[in-house]
């Protein structure tokens, strides 16, 4: 027998009516996509976890105070919140001074603050690490569309809403992201299978 999935909008309504299980279902439904997208945007697991938590605290607060009015557009709305936090975080990190030791190494790295998790180590060791590295070298607006499309699985129309642009701009950015990735693979003489 086919089962019908309860829509995000209905789950949110149930949660506002006091059904805690409805929020749990919503969180479990979207957590991996939201977390993967945040990670792909900020490139650091610890920062991604902070942003993920802050995003959901904001979501909870907005729902509980009756500010959620996007019906079944929960994921684009959640991605918009997390995307704005990612941008703030990237800007903050750019402003941070790098403190080096006597040998010129970043002391934060030596303290192990940015030590990579096993999951990240695995990712970096596999065959796609190079492509991921190049995604990081894309202009910010191109990387953002690529991440929101491929990681968060948002449509171009939804990405346009999240990024305050229009659908043609989003598709154009995606196209140029692909062109730039191809140029990088060619420049580095790597053949993408």
């Amino acid at each position: 027998m086919a089962t019908t999935m309860i829509s995000d909008g209905v789950l949110i309504k149930h949660y506002t009516e006091g059904n805690q299980g409805a929020f749990e279902t919503l969180l479990k439904r979207h957590k991996n996509r939201i977390f993967s997208s945040i990670y792909a945007l900020v490139g650091d697991r610890y920062i991604a976890e902070d942003i993920f938590q802050e995003t959901f605290i904001k979501i909870i607060h907005s729902i509980r105070t009756g500010k959620y009015n996007h019906e079944d557009k929960f994921l684009p709305w959640a991605m918009r919140i997390s995307r704005n936090m990612c941008i703030d975080s990237i800007r903050q990190r750019k402003r941070l001074p790098i403190v080096v030791d006597s040998e010129g190494n970043d002391i934060l790295n030596n303290l192990g603050i940015f030590e990579k998790s096993q999951e990240e180590m695995h990712i970096e060791n596999d065959e796609i690490s190079m492509l991921r590295k190049w995604i990081w070298e894309l202009p910010e607006e191109q990387r953002e569309v690529l991440v929101l499309r491929n990681y968060a699985d948002l449509s171009f129309k939804e990405i346009a809403v999240v990024t305050n642009t229009n659908i043609n701009t989003c598709i154009g950015r995606m196209h140029y992201a692909l062109i730039n990735l191809r140029k990088m693979t060619q420049k580095n003489s790597v053949r993408v299978k």
Binding site: Y15, G18, Q20, F23, E24, L27, K28, K31, N32, F35, S36, Y39, A40, E49, F52, Q53, F56, I57, I60, H61, R64, E119, I123, I128, L131, R132, I135, L146, R149, N150, Y151, S155, F156, K157, N168, I171, G172, M174, H175, L178, L181, R182, V192, K193
Partner: protein
């Protein structure tokens, strides 16, 4: 009439976002256009290679669930 398919339309086609009429046209003409195939294969390659499914750690998820319950409790 030959309709000029752009890379933008191929991109939308790959992600199931172009109109049914354009989709049908692309499918009909795909074999006769190796460049289209090449571009679609490339989009698919990047799509597959960039796909990751990371999970936030369970403690974090539990903390969020506690927060969602606590907020509910406070509001009562």
């Amino acid at each position: 009439m030959i309709y000029n398919i752009t890379k933008t339309e191929l991109l939308k086609y790959f992600y199931n976002e172009c109109s049914p009429s354009v989709s049908q046209l692309i499918e009909k003409e795909l074999d006769a256009n190796p460049d289209w195939k090449k571009y679609l294969n490339y989009i698919e390659t990047v799509h597959n290679l960039t796909k990751i499914n990371l999970k936030p750690n369970d403690t974090l998820v539990s903390m969020i669930l506690e927060e969602s319950a606590a907020t509910e409790h406070h509001s009562l």
